[in-house]
Each structure stands twice: as structure tokens, then as C-alpha cells.
Symmetry: C2
Subunit: 420 residues, 2 copies
């Protein structure tokens, strides 16, 4: 039986006719090795923005169901064009909508979850010798009617489509093609000797992504983890093998800082003089959750004199909305004030097991102190230590930490096996 490869090409990889033809040649080359191929595509470059603008020109509050039907056209367009480009170079191909490809979702328009993948049609097209192009980012609800409702999967949707198909079809590999060469120890635009990681664990990748490394969305990584799908992150525009995301058990790769994640666009909100009593936090975070503001780090220190300070971070773009939501709460609950700053950034060191290994936190704080950088908030998880620092210091902090944990030094690992 020939091997089955699922590939996913992002919006920048199919941004225009030339890139689509390049992607087609890349697919054709993989096919010449004898692999069966399922290829998931995102919408072309700015198509989604253009569709969002169209909707905005009609109404400020577009209906989520209509929005999904509108946005789903973006991947129909790129999918058909990739199929045509393959056919033009003699490769049998067919493009399928998410619905046709059997991507069944719940009814949460705009952020649907994949409930099931019915692989019948995709398998049938593969069996007939075709490369199967699947419109990413979308699916359909299962209905008693013949045709369900079109849904979209929200941010990172196309990655999720690819991983879900790879899992259901028991693909040999799932390759995510993007405009970077893989996952780096930190942002290579900031730290000159940032190093490409040949292998990274799911958990580490999740934290890297959560903390600002934008190569892959977390839900696709989670789905890969749960289903044991080995994910290769590669560049559309080079032949570098990229980074494998997989279960990493090798001792040498554990208990070690693997990367420094940066998130520049963060705002910090502090509620000052919050009564130290039950129910207060809920009164703050319920309305934010209802408004869809994604709250990240939450820090509350031990109170004194009956009040405490409650701090949290949000995406910088959500600050105005958050103020609007919380100003009445501050008044109603008698907090002293709401202090906020959009001039902060988040920096994290990530590595499986580091929280249980003494010394990492101290080394991180020490390296930042040596660089004269003030730490405004701290939060930790099993595999991550995160600091909020002044935004102006982020680049220096990244370089300091990358050096302190010697991330420029290659691990000697066989990328195929993840073993040293």
C-alpha cells in the first residue's frame, strides 16, 4: 500500500497564480514518490480580509451563519484553482468543499468544532488516482436534510482540518506548509542566532503557540497530540525538512528549555483595591467571557487590609472593549481603580519538565535582572515560565534569555526518530 500524505498550504502559499502553480509543482513532486495525497488549502492571501470588508460594508453585526457561508467561499476559490493548476500539469486532481470532504462539525458558527470526519468521498477519490484538494477552515453540520449548514472553524481552522483528516485517514505524515522554515527556539527576526528545532513535543509546541509563536494554532496541535498525528512544519518556498511536532520521550530533550516565546501585542489590566471576598473574580471575568475577550494570565496576590489587586493580560487590541465592559463593574463593586497598560509584552521560556527542575525560574529572573529589565508579572505552568515586561525591553530580553539557556547550541537529534 502506498503511503498517504496530508499537506496543508496556508494563505501566503497560495496568494497568487504563480504561488499556486509553485504549490502544484511541489504536490506533483511528492506524488512522483508514489504517495497518495490529500491537500488542505487556506484562502488566498487577502481573500478573507476582502470578504470581511464586504460584510462590514453591509452591516456592523453580520449574522454568524451568513458569515460562515460567505467566508467559506475563500477556500472554495483557492481549492479549485490548486486543482486546476494540478490538472494543467497532468496530475489528476479534484477539489472538495469541507462539506464534500466529510468534515462534520457542531453548529457553533464562526468557531465550529469538528465532530467527525466521514472519509468515504476522500477515500473514493484517492482510490480513483486523484490528488484530493480539501477546502480548509470549514465544514458542515449533519442535518436530516441532504445539505447541512456551512460552518467555519475559526482561527487556525485549516491546520485543524489537515490534522483531523490525517488522523481519520491514518495518514503517514501531516505536513503544514507555511512561509517560515519551521519552529525556532525564538523569533528569528529578534534573536539573530535563533535555531530551527528539528523536533518539538506537542506540549512544548502548545505552550510556544499559546505564548505567541504564531506558526501553528493550538487547537490543531492539541488534535494532533490526542490522535498521535506527527506534524511536520515546513516552508512552501524551500526544501528544508522543517520541524517535526511529535511525542518526545527522549531524556536529552526533556527537562531543558526548548524555546523562548514572544508575544508583543499584550495589554495588562490591574484592578486596584478589589475587596478580598468570594465572587469578586467571577464578577470581573464573566462579563469578559460573555463578550468573547480572551483573558490570558491572571495574577492575584495575597491581599492585605481587606483588599487586593487583581491583574490579568489580554490581547492589546481588546483593551478598549475591556475598559468599556469593566468600568461599570469597577464602579458598582467599589474597586479603587482600573489601571491598564498596552505597553507590555510577554516572554516565556518553554520546555517539558522545566517547572519541576529547580533553578530555571531563578536563571530566567537573573538573566532579565542582569539585562536591567523589570518584571511586572509572573506566571508559570508545568512546562513554561512567563514574565510580563515593558514592551520596549522585549527584544533585549529575548536575546538575553536565548543566550542564558544556550538555545543556539544544536541538540544532536535524528529528526526522523526524535532520538539523539
Amino acid at each position: 500500500m502506498s503511503s498517504l500524505v496530508v499537506q496543508k498550504y496556508g494563505g501566503s502559499s497560495v496568494a497568487d497564480a504563480d504561488r499556486i502553480k509553485h504549490v502544484a509543482r511541489r504536490i506533483a513532486r511528492e506524488r512522483e514518490t508514489g504517495s497518495d495525497l490529500v491537500v488542505v488549502v487556506s484562502a488566498m492571501g487577502d481573500t478573507t480580509d476582502h470578504l470581511l470588508e464586504l460584510a462590514a460594508s453591509i452591516t456592523d453585526e453580520p449574522d454568524a451563519r451568513e458569515m460562515d457561508l460567505l467566508l467559506a467561499t475563500g477556500e472554495h476559490i483557492s481549492g479549485t484553482l490548486v486543482a486546476m493548476a494540478l490538472q494543467a500539469i497532468g496530475v489528476p486532481a479534484i477539489s472538495l468543499t469541507g462539506a464534500q470532504a466529510g468534515i462534520r462539525t457542531d453548529r457553533s458558527h464562526g468557531r465550529a468544532r469538528i465532530a467527525n470526519v466521514d472519509p468515504a468521498r476522500v477515500r473514493e477519490e484517492i482510490a480513483s488516482g486523484k490528488v484530493v484538494i480539501v477546502a480548509g477552515f470549514q465544514g458542515a453540520t449533519e442535518e436530516t436534510h441532504l445539505h447541512g449548514e456551512v460552518t467555519t472553524l475559526g482561527r487556525g481552522g485549516s491546520d485543524t482540518t489537515a490534522v483531523a483528516l490525517a488522523a481519520r485517514l491514518q495518514a503517514d505524515t501531516c505536513e503544514i506548509y507555511t512561509d517560515v522554515e519551521g519552529i525556532y527556539t525564538t523569533d528569528p527576526r529578534v534573536v539573530k542566532d535563533a535555531r530551527l528545532l528539528p523536533v518539538i513535543g506537542y506540549e512544548e509546541m502548545l505552550e510556544m503557540a499559546h505564548q505567541g509563536a504564531q506558526v501553528m494554532q493550538t487547537r490543531a496541535v492539541e488534535l494532533g497530540w490526542v490522535n498521535g498525528v506527527i506534524i511536520a512544519v515546513r516552508s512552501t518556498f524551500s526544501d528544508h525538512p522543517g520541524t517535526l511536532i511529535k511525542e518526545v520521550n527522549h531524556m536529552e530533550l526533556r527537562d531543558k528549555v526548548r524555546g523562548v516565546a514572544l508575544d508583543r501585542k499584550v495589554a495588562k489590566v490591574t484592578l486596584v483595591g478589589v475587596p478580598d471576598q468570594p465572587g469578586i473574580a467571577r464578577g470581573v471575568f464573566d462579563p469578559l467571557a460573555a463578550a468573547g475577550v480572551s483573558v490570558d494570565m491572571i495574577v492575584q496576590n495575597v491581599g492585605h487590609a481587606g483588599t487586593t489587586d487583581l491583574s490579568f493580560t489580554i490581547p492589546a487590541g481588546e483593551l478598549a472593549r475591556t475598559r468599556k465592559i469593566l468600568d461599570p463593574v469597577v464602579k458598582a463593586q467599589g474597586f479603587r481603580e482600573l489601571a491598564a497598560s498596552a505597553d507590555v509584552s510577554k516572554i516565556s521560556i518553554v520546555g517539558a519538565g522545566i517547572q519541576n527542575t529547580p533553578g530555571y525560574a531563578a536563571r530566567m529572573f537573573g538573566a532579565l535582572a542582569d539585562a536591567g529589565i523589570n518584571i511586572e508579572m509572573i506566571s508559570t505552568s508545568d512546562i513554561r515560565i512567563t514574565c510580563i515586561i515593558p514592551a520596549v525591553d522585549l527584544d533585549r530580553a529575548a536575546n538575553a534569555l536565548h543566550k542564558a539557556f544556550q538555545l543556539q547550541v544544536p541538540e544532536v537529534v535524528d529528526p526522523a526518530t526524535g532520538r539523539a
Copy 2:
């Protein structure tokens, strides 16, 4: 039971956000009269051209199936935007793809025929109080799979969608909104006192459309005729009642020239010195049909000395292709030559029964002769007399015939009943 109205808005009616909002207000106004509404939309203005360009940038020979999936996005986009515009002014609405609306077709991609309309979903949405927007020009094949293949209906597809839905849902009226106020006695850009016809019969409308009046495509008229759907052609941008297309039995409206149809873009091909023997015509028209060249008038005179001349007309844009196809035939069969001209136009007088009423042909030829216009070919049907004339004479011919048959004089007819 409230009345059911099917409306169709063409591409120019939904060309931008302002026009879409205008259409939404128009729909809302109709709904305030208590009608249930199903609204079929075409793609926005230049969307289809843009999609065709995209495909052309990838390949010269796009696969018909992929092309359909690509083009169908145009009506998904306009449909969702119209639904959003309605919701924005407080009118409950939902947009459905052709597939979701139950438009089932055969598998002829690019020119699919509607096989059946499954009205369940549309009826359900109407019953829930919504205006149902349906993406025109498209349908889906019925498959054992949950999701069939997306097909498009070819030219005039959205009109056909509207009429098919009106027939299946037993709508009270089917209103085709366009950028002209209805059907005129002739092209009002050419003849100043061209008159809007309050009523026209299906058969007459078919001939008018066949002969170049471009307001409605013939297949939608045919479908309306077969199913007895009364079609109103109206302007999106005025409140004029427009033209009703319906069965016209009233004596006063029969045996009378109703309109002058003009077709500027015609080429005439004459095969000179064709052997006057069986099978020759097939040898000419079979290869043209196979290449999809639509041959219109065919005229062959009585032969003499064993040969004859065979003339026919084609759309002007097909002339180069036609030459390429027929040049080898001319050589192989020993015809004297292929003479062609793209400098001709077609002018027709149309009216139910005129062919059986003596004098119309003579009056037509006489009016053209009085204007000094040479007739190059003549062809007639039950309800039409058509002449091929030099293209430079078309406007003068139109004015001469419009006047000769007194088309500027209104018929006194109640447009609701079609009676005088």
C-alpha cells in the same frame, strides 16, 4: 394563506453595498404587504469575470467541474450579503446555496439542466418567517453521498433558478428585476419612441430573446411557459410595473407585430458552390455542433447546375473558430469557397400569428426597401420574420420598421389580465 412571491435580482442590481441595501429595502417593502418571499440573486457585478480571470491565470483549459465550484462562490457571496442587509434592517432572512435550496441538476457541468427542485428546506424557512435568499445560477447533483457535486446552469441561469422555484413552490408571481424597466417594442437606445410592452406572450418573448433582446434568457422563458409561471420583468431602480410575460390569448394582441428585435453581433457565412447532394449539410454542421458553435439562421436556396450556396449566421465572436473548423471541410468536399462577413446584423419583427397573416412580410420588405436597405438573407418562423442586413443600416432599419408597424401606439390592455 399569504401570497408567495419569487423575486430575482441580476448582477447589476447587487453590484455594490449601496445597491444591495437598496435591494434589501425593496424586499422589505414587498414583505410589508404580507407576502412570503423567495429571492434569487446573481453574482455581484463583475465577480464572475474576476473568477474567470483567476482561472485563466492558472490554466487555459479549466476543468468544468472545478470551474463550477469556483463560479458558484459568486452567488454565495451576493446571497449572504443580501441576507445580512435584510437582517440589518430587521427582516429575518437566510441565504441558501443552490444545493441547500434543493436545486437538483444533471451532471452537465457549466450548462446543467434542472432535474428537480426539492422544496423542503425553502418551505421550512418560509414557514419560520424568513425571507429566503437563494444563490442563483447553480445547483447540485443528487448523489448517494451526503453532498453532491456543485453545478452551474450556464447563461441565464439565475432567471432559470427563479422560474423553477416559482413553478415548484406555486408562487403567485415571479418577478425578474433588472436594469431596464421591462420589455420594449425594440431597443430604446436605437429607436427613440420604443414603447414598453405591458404584456407579452411566452412565444413572442422567446422569439424576441432568441433574436437579440437580451433582457431574459430563453430557457427561463421556456420553463415559465411549460409551467404556466407568470413572469414580471421590472427595474430594480424604479417602481414601474414593467412587463408581464404570460399566455396571451386576447384577439387584439394576436396577429399583430409586437416588437422589433435587433442583434448587432452576427456573422454571416456562405459556402459557395456546394454540391447539391444528400449529406453535405451534415458534413458542415456536425463539426460546428461538436465544437459548440451555435448556428442560427440557415438558408439554402434551390440549386442549379448541380451546386448550391449554403448560408448561415453565427455569433460574430465565433467567426474565427468557424473558419478554422470549416476550411478543411471546404477543401475536402470541393466547395468553391467560404465567404464570410462580420459586418451584418439581424433584424426581426415578432408577433404571434403574423406568419399566417398575409401582408406582414411584404410590409417589412417594403419598409426596408423604402429606407434603401438591402436584405441579404431572409428566414421566417411562425411568429417571426427575420432579415440579415448590413450592420451599418441596423439603426435606420429599426426605426423604419418600428414606424411601419406603428409600435409607438399603445395597446389598451389591462396588464393584470392581459385584456383590452
